[in-house]
Amino acid sequence: MLSCKEVLANMSCYIDGDGSAELRSQLEKHVARCPRCWVVFDTTNKTLRIVTDCQPFEVPLEVSARLYTRLQGLLVGS
């Protein structure tokens, strides 16, 4: 069975859907039996879901407006 450190080193790979079927199966077996690794996998997945859902760092409206003002000369200069 993989050690907890090996499981952690391959966690991103698993989350991103990479890795061989053999490796994925070994990771799943370990995580099903190890409460600590289960929590790390579960909470890392939740972290990524939270990040995706909250759409961080939108361009502020005034920043966007200043961008188009600066580009205006170049765009209408055609």
Binding site: M1, S3, K5, L8, A9, M11, S12, C13, I15, D16, G17, R33, C34, P35, R36, V39, V40, D42, T43, T44, K46, T47, L48, R49, I50, V51, T52, D53, C54, Q55, P56, F57, E58, V59, P60, V63, S64, R66, L67, Y68, R70, L71, L74, L75, V76, G77, S78
Partner: protein, 235 residues
Amino acid sequence: MAEGEDLQRKDTRGADADLALVERVQAGDRRAFETLVRRHERRIFRTTLAVTGNEADAEEAMQDTFLKAFQHIGEFRGDARFSTWLTRIAINEGLQRTRRKREMVSLDDPEHPLEAALPRRTDEWASNPEQLCAAGEIKELVENAIRALPAPYRVVFVLRDVEQLSTEETSAAIGLSIPGVKSRLLRARLMLREALAPKFEQAPTLRKRLRRAGMTMQHMLQMGLDHIARRAERR
């Protein structure tokens, strides 16, 4: 898997649309450039913000990125995707700005060993942590946690997990090897998880704590037995 394929198809359509717009700009249609700006404004702002770490520099770097892209669009030959080409310009513009201010952000920092990012907080989170606080509060928490990541990790995280670039595109945009991207992404995800944990952890009930202790002991015993069996096989 089906969702992954959908994303990939959407991504390919996006790249094709970009290429058609680039060709129009190269043929003299400047309005097509405005469409390109609208399509990529958010990604470029997030990229320059990830590199510089502050909004004022990110804004200037974003403006300069689009100006430079317009000036050099004739040199774009489609060897890489337009989005990757533009992201690379944005990263350079961001880096130049930090150098000018002598803040010297480097994306080549030596790798933190995995030990430095090992999980310390291992209590379970609520099943729907998003429902524990208001959307605005979560967004602020996430943005602060991403800002607090060291720049080399922040840039990889933003490109991969916020902008959803592939590992290969991120590698090409930053000029970092694929194993380097993967290694930084893992550490960034672990650091971010650790930063969000205090907000979303739930104190375990006594029953849960006992069940977990039992499972942990069983798991460690199994690992020990596996180890002994492997050593015996080797003899």
